[in-house]
């Protein structure tokens, strides 16, 4: 064995994630994968991994980890997380080389929910249905499909020997402003006035949420003709409106089919930004058409490619 990363006191919600599973939704298997795919890709880029190599994802707090390999390079992204190695503060959004026995403590961030710890070479774990992404409800991916627990030893894959300077990158730019969504496919369940009122309102991100979906709180959305749709396909980003009229935004672990009317879908380019909004944060929405959504997707893709190209050496390392 090359070595391991040991969970000494992991945060309350740490899982292994990658890009998620593709091609299995037709069988009821959620996509899963990182809530903030941009931050996952950048963490991996900092340690010279492929963009969507498996990494640790943690909610709010990362916890304490121990390095049980001779030396390794790590990087933490997602937000301005407070990080220490044996009591010495480390900056996020850059790589660090740690040695055997060092303890890594990952605290919280004021500007994010989801954090990522990538390690050069990634983890040596068996993919399930083509992905290492943990989906707890299906008991798939990661370590037995579970959250990581105290005492877990995550085996490491050999990294290309990485000598030379540490690397750093600026966090991806995420201009504020309304979240963009494409209306439908169940618009007939809402009157035009209702949709207009929704788009003019401010909603608050609540504490009621997880990797499956996030409940918002704000002006009640009225249904024009009940709230039971014949169950049909769902994707991350869908804005469902259950009976009580408060919207739920579905996220990476969302079920594959569902029976509440869908008012719209937040565009893929804006989903990482939405996922990182902390409880209590406010959001507004703006409707765009499908062509504009695709343009935003291409723009986002290019932006991310450019950001990855902006990874630079840390002077003096």
């Amino acid at each position: 064995m090359i070595g391991a990363l040991i969970a000494i006191a992991p945060g309350p919600y740490v899982t292994i994630q990658d890009q998620g599973r593709r091609g299995w939704r037709r069988f009821g298997i959620a996509v899963a994968g990182a809530m903030d795919l941009d931050s996952l890709a950048l963490a991996n880029a900092l340690v010279a991994n492929p963009p969507y190599a498996a990494a640790l994802e943690f909610a709010h707090v990362g916890g304490t980890w121990e390095i049980a390999t001779k030396a390794c390079r790590i990087a933490i992204t997602g937000g301005s997380f407070e990080v220490w190695a044996d009591g010495v503060a480390l900056a996020p959004w850059r790589s660090h080389t740690l040695r055997y026995g060092q303890r890594l403590v990952i605290g919280g961030a004021r500007d994010a929910v989801w954090g990522y710890l990538a390690i050069a070479g990634s983890f040596d774990i068996m993919p399930r249905l083509g992905s290492s992404a943990t989906h707890i409800r299906s008991a798939l991916g990661g370590i037995n499909g579970c959250r990581l627990r105290e005492g877990d030893a995550l085996p490491l894959r050999a990294a290309r020997l990485f000598v030379g300077a540490e690397r750093q990158v600026a966090p991806p730019s995420r201009p504020p402003g309304p979240l963009r969504l494409v209306l439908g496919p169940q618009q007939e369940f809402f009157t035009p006035e209702t949709v207009e009122a929704f788009l003019a309102s401010t909603y608050r991100v609540t504490h009621r949420g997880d990797r499956m979906g996030m409940w918002l709180e704000g002006p009640k959305i009225a249904h024009a003709r009940g709230y039971n749709v014949l169950s049909d396909g769902l994707v991350p980003g869908c804005v469902q409106v259950p009976g009580a009229g408060q919207p739920v935004v579905l996220l990476m672990d969302c079920q594959t089919v569902g029976g509440y009317p869908k008012l719209g879908t937040i565009i893929t380019a804006d989903l990482p930004r939405f996922a990182q909004i902390r409880p209590g944060g406010e959001v507004t929405f703006t409707a765009i058409d499908i062509e504009a959504a695709h343009q935003a997707y291409r723009h986002h893709h290019n932006m991310l490619t450019r950001t990855a190209q902006l990874i630079v050496d840390v002077p003096g390392t």
């Binding site: 939704r25 014949l230 049909d232 396909g233 062509e291």
Partner: protein, 227 residues
Amino acid sequence: MTVEFGDAIAPELNNAVIGLDIALAAAEPDGIIETVPTYRSLLICYDPLETSFVQLVSEVRGLLARGLPAQINETATWRVPFVSDPPFADDLPEVAHRQSLTEDEVISLFTSVEYQVYMVGFAPGMPYLGGLPDALHISRKETPRPQVPAGAVMIGGIQACIVPTIVPSAWYTLGRTPLRPFMPDRQDPFLFRPGDRVRFRRVDVGEFERLARLGTQALLSMVRAAR
């Protein structure tokens, strides 16, 4: 992109969905990531870097204009053994009471028909079964049961299902089967496909326990009639 064929649970709508799914898979247009066939609509997930909405709409229109495959290929028929005695049939007394039937009448009605798998989803490999006799149509519970075990055979609304993994559910448990719709360690982890037919066969507790001890392969060869 969602292609809707209607707004009902009906074999002809579901067949159209499955037909388009098959036709699309055969045509292999660029940029399609995956599709999700449901009762009456097909969800098509695509990569906007490789195709466009307009392009896909035109592909789909073309396939529809050429006519969809009438025969759904490769469907299987399953004879699913299940036990409906305590402690495996938590909600059978309530169903009997609500429907003004005896428990035996509920089970003989339930086993009297052949069901069609309309879609697979919600949980890994979970089949949504249509064809439930009218006398068993029942509105969902107000409060879902937080944990229904794998193998539970349930009814809710006008449908039935077989539970693959522990799920919360507002449906009613009529019994338990040793079959698992989702077996992650098998090469093909999913038992059911849309279009498959399912019949239920009541067994007693002793037979259930005997079947539960059989290996997966032996059990599958007993319950699969054709594919």
